[in-house]
């Protein structure tokens, strides 16, 4: 398996209270898959993503990518953050060139590659602007171009559209779906928006809180072109809704 999480546990201590963010989580992901980690806050979806991306270590269990244990972030697995993480003192072009500088790509080549990816995210002509002069959606596009520019194998996205308005979010969802097909990247996408997950994912990993765990993994049998209003789409969406409702039933049974 390409990405392999086995029995991953992660505990935090917050205000003297122990808190289990991940409780024996196991997950396999294949190359080229678009995976959404879906769940309410506190379900450990961001913790799992951080462990995969190498920002945090799990307390026990293993996280492997391509057979190798993940110990630190790497240029071949890029994370896109909700807050964009653009460097405000750099122009758009210079921001996209950031990772290429570490790869020691020559100057002209850097600009060439960066312009190509800015075009891919629909921001040609914005090269000389500064992040602050762009809207939130445009800034996230720059961050996506910056990630793609280093030609990573995997792109991790941590609620990347969470700070955007609904219409911009939908537009970006369409674009990221198109880009994921064109660039053939493995994408792991964290969200708490059910529709977003159904629109994007090949498989949805539904997670639950207290302790953070995987409730179930739902395959989304929709093709490359997804229609938010089609019956198939609504069917899958309802199935996910049901999964979340079952949590309450489970609770009631527990107390009886």
């Amino acid at each position: 398996m390409y990405i392999e999480v086995k029995d991953a546990c992660k505990d935090f201590v917050q205000d003297g209270k122990r808190f289990t963010a991940l409780d024996h989580v196991s997950l396999d992901i294949e190359k080229g898959e678009f995976i959404c980690l879906l769940g309410p806050s506190g379900c450990g979806k961001s913790t799992l993503l951080n462990a995969l991306a190498g920002f945090e270590k799990v307390s026990s269990g293993t996280v492997r990518i391509g057979g190798k244990e993940v110990t630190e972030p790497s240029l071949s697995n890029i994370t896109i953050f909700q807050k964009y993480g653009l460097l405000p003192w750099r122009t758009v072009l210079k921001n996209v060139e950031l990772g290429l500088e570490s790869k020691r790509v020559p100057k002209e080549k850097r600009a060439e590659i960066s312009k190509k990816y800015l075009e891919l995210v629909g921001l040609s002509g914005y090269e000389k602007r500064y992040p602050k002069q762009l809207s939130g959606g445009q800034q996230q596009r720059v961050a996506i171009a910056r990630g793609l520019a280093v030609d990573p194998d995997i792109i991790f996205m941590d609620e990347p559209f969470g700070a955007l308005d609904a219409i911009t979010r939908m537009k970006l969802q369409e674009d990221i779906l198109r880009i994921s097909r064109e660039e053939k990247k493995t994408i792991i996408f964290v969200t708490h928006d059910i529709e977003e997950a159904v629109f994007l994912a090949d498989r949805i990993v539904v997670m639950m809180a207290d302790p953070g765990r995987i409730k179930s993994i739902v395959k989304v049998p929709l093709g490359a072109h997804r229609d938010r209003t089609s019956d198939d789409f609504l069917y899958v969406r309802d199935k996910i809704f049901e999964l979340f409702n079952m949590k309450t039933e489970g609770f009631i049974e527990y107390y009886i």
Partner: protein, 253 residues
């Protein structure tokens, strides 16, 4: 239009100041050699300009100021960048800094004169001390306040030291560091005069002492005005530089 309005404010403000001075001159019972009128101070200023003495002293003072201030800023920023990344080390250094910081740089003066004698060095050292702590502390704080997302992104994109400092930490911390540098400029300029009054035989500070020794209150007051004027000009120049740098920082507000 805005410029003109603020110019109008300056003219009115200075006119009021001169008017009060003139009134005090009329009502004071002091000898006019001890309490001169604005006109007398102005004449003394012209006299110093014509004799070349003023520019000689300004040059000397500015040299000391530049040497003390810039060396202090450079050392403090570099040290601050290092200590800001090492909070565990800084917690052992911070108490010492807090102990030294409230000591007026002039308190060091006799000690410095004992060590280095009279001349350029005491003034430079005192300016160095005056500028050092505000810049150091604001740099350490600025580095500590950097949004962690910049460091996460840097880690992800494989930016390692020393590039990390030049490409990410310094620019991210710069706006706050600039604040400290700006604050230190005023403080340093204030202590230049103190340093030259005690530890030098030349410069604007010494010119004040010299004027007192010769009972030339007109020269004394003229010199004070020149010191104030240069202080404003330095502040204005730094503001312009700051603005230019911050503009290229993308903070185009």
């Amino acid at each position: 239009m805005k410029r003109l309005l603020s110019l109008k404010n300056v003219v009115i403000s200075v006119a009021i100041l001169i008017l009060i001075w003139q009134l005090l001159f009329y009502v004071s019972s002091y000898d006019k050699a001890l309490f001169p009128s604005p006109k007398m101070a102005f004449d003394a200023l012209v006299e110093m300009i014509v004799s070349g003495k003023l520019f000689e002293n300004i040059k000397t003072s500015m040299y000391r100021f530049a040497a003390g201030y810039f060396s202090s800023v450079i050392v403090a920023v570099i040290l601050g960048l290092i200590l800001g990344r090492l909070p565990k080390v800084f917690q052992y250094i911070d108490p010492a800094v807090q102990l030294l910081r409230p000591i007026s740089p002039t308190a060091w003066m006799p000690f410095i004169v004992l060590l280095f004698g009279i001349g350029d060095v005491p003034a430079i050292v005192i300016i160095f001390i005056a500028a050092f702590f505000p810049v150091l502390l604001s740099t350490v704080a600025a580095v500590g306040n950097i949004d962690p997302i910049y460091l996460k992104v840097s880690k992800n994109f494989g930016i390692k030291q020393p590039s990390l400092t030049w490409k990410v930490i310094l620019p991210a911390a710069f706006p706050q560091i600039a604040n400290g540098i700006h604050l230190a400029l005023g403080t340093a300029w204030i202590f230049l005069v103190a340093g030259e009054m005690v530890g030098a035989q030349s410069g604007l500070g010494y010119q004040i002492i010299d004027a007192r020794n010769n009972i030339r209150a007109d020269i004394l007051l003229a010199t004070i005005l020149v010191i104030g004027l240069i202080g404003i000009l330095l502040d204005g120049a730094l503001k312009l530089i700051e603005k230019a740098i911050l503009r290229s920082w993308g903070g185009a507000e």
